[in-house]
């Protein structure tokens, strides 16, 4: 039977756009709402920069989460890894580690990014070779990383001197756009291209849709999963570095529950916890919704307890909506 590929290509495109359109519309509505509620403050460049830095932080973690959730897994470790890597970069640069004197910014950043990636590979090893459920192995790291961060610092923050050039990463801007946000856009673009245009991305979606069918189609399923977990670890380290820079200190208490916000962002953005579905654009928009709401509610003087209630409700609504959409199909 003849396939009218032209018209179909069109319909597919509009459908794909439509999926993220939902999230985009929700985001814009929120934006307009908060603007109408506090017109003086909300659109000020300083406030927009706050929102963007926030999105940068959770968006980065959401990228890793989306990859892993597409393959049917989950990564609970990223919040604690954020704290550990932030502490590590500060320790390496300011105090030195295990008798080694302090090192420069670039080598410190590279080392910490490698450590984050190694944690990811560690997860990949247990998930693929040992068949340990991702939930369990990353929960283990969640505790381990949290404990290590506190051990290294003995509970106290390691504070950067205010003139340290390292602080530019998290606090500086380029043409009015926070540098951390620019970094997010770069990483999100790279991973988006991998997912949409490269064979690795095709394989990630296939593994999430049906791992056994993928294996029998010649896909090296383990290698695909290794990549996703390693990327998540790398993103957590990036977030840890940016956060240490933004706060001007490496502190073991940051990052708590960030993994849940990252997962929430991914899910609000249309990633299916059943695996096989999800996009980076959706996850970034999901993170943007979370960020905008938190910021807007602060401006409206909503109590922080109520903020949690509202954000939780948004998450539930997003998941129910997504499930209904799937059922209708």
């Amino acid at each position: 039977m003849a396939v009218e590929s032209k018209s179909n290509q069109k319909s597919r495109k509009s459908f794909a756009q439509f999926r993220e359109l939902n999230v985009l519309v929700a985001f814009l509505l929120l934006f307009v709402f908060f603007y109408s509620q506090s017109p003086q403050v909300f659109l000020k460049p300083a406030n927009l920069a706050v929102i963007m830095r926030f999105i940068a932080c959770f968006g980065m973690l959401s990228i890793g989460e989306v990859l892993i959730i597409i393959t049917g897994g989950i990564d609970l470790s990223v919040g604690s890894l954020t704290a550990l890597t932030g502490v590590l970069v500060a320790t390496l640069m300011l105090k030195g580690f295990a008798g080694i004197p302090p090192i420069g910014m670039i080598p410190a950043i590279i080392i910490v990014l490698c450590i984050g990636t190694l944690f990811g590979l560690w997860h990949g090893f247990f998930v693929t070779k040992m068949r340990i459920p991702p939930f369990i192995i990353t929960l283990g790291t969640w505790l381990i990383a949290k404990g290590l961060a506190a051990l290294i610092t003995r509970g106290y923050p390691i504070v950067y001197p205010s003139e340290s050039p390292f602080l530019v990463l998290g606090q500086g801007s380029f043409l009015g756009i926070p540098i951390s946000f620019i970094i997010l856009v770069i990483f999100a673009s790279i991973v988006s291209i991998i997912l949409n245009r490269m064979r690795l991305g095709y394989r990630i979606y296939a593994v999430g849709g049906n791992a056994e069918a993928s294996r029998l189609s010649g896909v090296n399923v383990d290698r695909v999963k290794f990549f996703c977990y390693a990327t998540s670890g790398f993103m957590a380290a990036t977030t840890g570095i940016l956060l240490a820079s933004r706060l001007g200190q490496g502190t073991p208490t940051v990052g708590s529950a960030y993994e849940l916000w990252a997962i929430a962002g991914a899910v609000i953005g249309g990633t299916s916890l059943l695996g096989g579905e999800g996009t980076i654009l959706g996850a970034i928009l999901g993170a943007a919704i979370v960020g905008t709401m938190q910021n807007g509610m602060v401006l409206l003087n909503v109590s922080s307890y109520l903020q949690d209630v509202v954000l939780g409700a948004v998450l539930v609504i997003a998941v129910v909506y997504d499930t209904l959409r799937r059922l209708r199909k």
Binding site: M1, R197, R199, L200, Y202, Y205, R215, G218
Partner: protein, 511 residues
């Protein structure tokens, strides 16, 4: 049939029909079962046996027709209702919770409550469960304790638990769906003793099987289904195996129509030497020539699928050598098998063959991504071209290449699996039950595709449990039994009887 009995059937099924999208699974079938009798239900794969049993046990609802139990019209809405009516079914795959003990399993979902207030509060009566399960186990001749964990029992013992569970609801009719497929010879003997016992106790047993010799050993009557229709009924004591095979096969596939013999070349494309998997495959040796269709026949569990999977690197082989075009190839994973020029259409179309939530395009592209992405970047134009070509060649009926494959019919899904492998340009194509569960039209199309492929010089290995199919399609037939190749039959020599003889582990008498 003249049953010469005054008693009425305990179960009477009248003109039941059931359709699934694209298939008429049952077409006005009749069926009767009598108390104190074993009724065998026979038929090829897809004949409608399982569908009828699922309707009877409340899993499916019939489109038409009526069922009577002791002359009372019944319409079970779910398995629970069917159970309460006295109809129990024991599936091939057991419904037991392996980490719980025997008596908990026997009363699963129907736990007896304690008397008085504790019962109302939800406390179960363990005493009662223990005592009664002991009786039930004795009834089926089980020698194990009722507090053993199910996962510590052998398959045969687990089956006893299933039967005890069926008895615990005061079953009047017990359906057994291929109960012997997972059992060894001695265990089958034990099971048959239990069945004879249950018969004496006045139960009606419906016994689904495709092993003829079992029918003659245990059944009183045999009912044969074919293509969703009632094909005939015989009294086993008066019937011959040929008679029953005749009913099952019915339309013998006309060989000349499907296939002209093609093995014109002598070039060996695939050679398998001493392939072993401990406890599963023993010294598998064979050759496949270019342009040849090699049929792999045998009963379920004879090692055909296992051979295919080991060959394709899906399961690890313990030893063995594989040559393609005369060159030794090392196959350690499906990945390396694909690179060596092998392709496998697995038996589980939906679980192993397809990513159901993905589009036709993505599924066809999956094994071919390397070829489509010379610089890691997918060439989407080329991909669409390739996919479109094979969708057209195989005449896959889909509204678009972007349609999720889960929305396609079984036949078209199977063609998508074929398409993805044809696009990979294999030297050897292994087909595991390629026509299972697809309608007659789609079957003919699959045969047609196979004929075209061998003409292009591809070697095909086809596993099939359908005799007429294997006889009509194959140039040569290997028959397997318990992980070994029992014998080889040329196209000219092959008959159903010879295949059946080899498949049940007996040597052929001098031909």
């Amino acid at each position: 049939m003249d049953q010469k009995r005054n008693e009425k059937p305990i179960l009477k099924i009248k003109e039941i029909s059931k359709a699934f999208p694209g298939v008429q699974a049952l077409d006005k079938v009749n069926f009767e079962a009598y108390a104190g009798e074993v009724t065998a239900l026979l038929g090829e794969n897809g004949a409608g046996k399982s569908t009828l049993m699922k309707i009877l046990s409340g899993v499916y609802k019939a489109d038409q027709g009526e069922m009577y139990l002791n002359d009372v019209l019944i319409q079970p809405q779910n398995p629970h209702e069917a159970q309460n009516l006295g109809i129990s079914i024991i599936y091939q795959e057991f419904n037991l919770t392996p980490n719980q003990n025997v008596f908990t399993n026997i009363f699963l979902g129907r736990e007896p409550m304690m008397k008085g207030l504790p019962g109302k509060l939800g406390f179960v009566d363990k005493q009662y469960m223990r005592r009664n399960s002991e009786k039930l186990l004795a009834q089926v001749g089980a020698r194990f304790k009722n507090d053993r964990l199910v996962n510590s029992l052998s398959v045969a013992e687990q089956q006893m638990v299933e039967i005890a569970k069926a008895l615990s609801v005061q079953a009047k009719v017990i359906i057994m769906d291929e109960p012997t497929s997972a059992l060894g010879k001695e265990e089958v003997g034990v099971l048959f003793n239990i069945i004879r016992d249950l018969k004496k106790q006045g139960l009606a047993i419906i016994f689904i099987t495709h092993r003829l010799e079992e029918v003659f050993e245990i059944a009183d009557r045999a009912i044969v289904f074919r293509d969703g229709r009632w094909a005939g009924e015989v009294k086993v004591a008066e019937a011959t195996p040929e008679q029953i095979i005749g009913l099952m096969v019915g339309r013998a596939l006309d060989r000349s129509q499907v296939h002209e013999s093609h093995a014109s070349t002598d070039e060996v494309v695939l050679k398998v030497q001493n392939l072993n998997r401990k406890g599963i495959l023993h010294n598998i040796n064979f050759e496949l020539r270019k342009g040849e269709i090699l049929g792999l026949a045998g009963l379920v569990g004879a090692g055909r699928t296992e051979t295919a999977r080991a060959l394709f690197g899906a399961d690890r082989m313990d030893s063995g050598e594989i040559y393609i075009d005369g060159k030794r190839v090392e196959i350690t994973s499906p990945d390396s098998a694909v690179k060596a020029g092998l392709a496998l259409v697995p038996e589980g179309r939906q679980t192993q063959g397809l990513v159901l939530i993905q589009s036709v395009e993505r599924n066809v592209a999956l094994p071919n991504l390397d070829a489509l992405s010379p610089n890691y970047l997918i060439n989407r134009g080329k991909m669409r071209q390739l996919v479109k070509k094979f969708v057209d060649v195989l005449n896959i009926r889909t509204p678009s290449l972007d349609q999720q494959v889960l929305n396609l019919s079984g036949g078209n899904q199977q063609k998508v699996v074929l398409a993805k492998w044809l696009a990979s340009n294999p030297k050897v194509l292994i087909l595991d039950e390629p026509t299972r569960g697809i309608d007659v039209g789609a079957k003919a199309e699959v045969y047609d595709i196979m004929n075209k492929l061998v003409q292009q010089g591809i070697g095909i290995i086809m596993i099939s449990s359908e005799m007429p199919e294997i006889l009509a399609i194959s140039d040569r037939i290997l028959v397997m039994y318990e992980g070994r190749i029992m014998g080889e039959l040329s196209r000219a020599d092959a008959t159903q009887e010879r295949i059946m003889t080899l498949a049940s582990g007996k040597e052929l008498q001098a031909v």
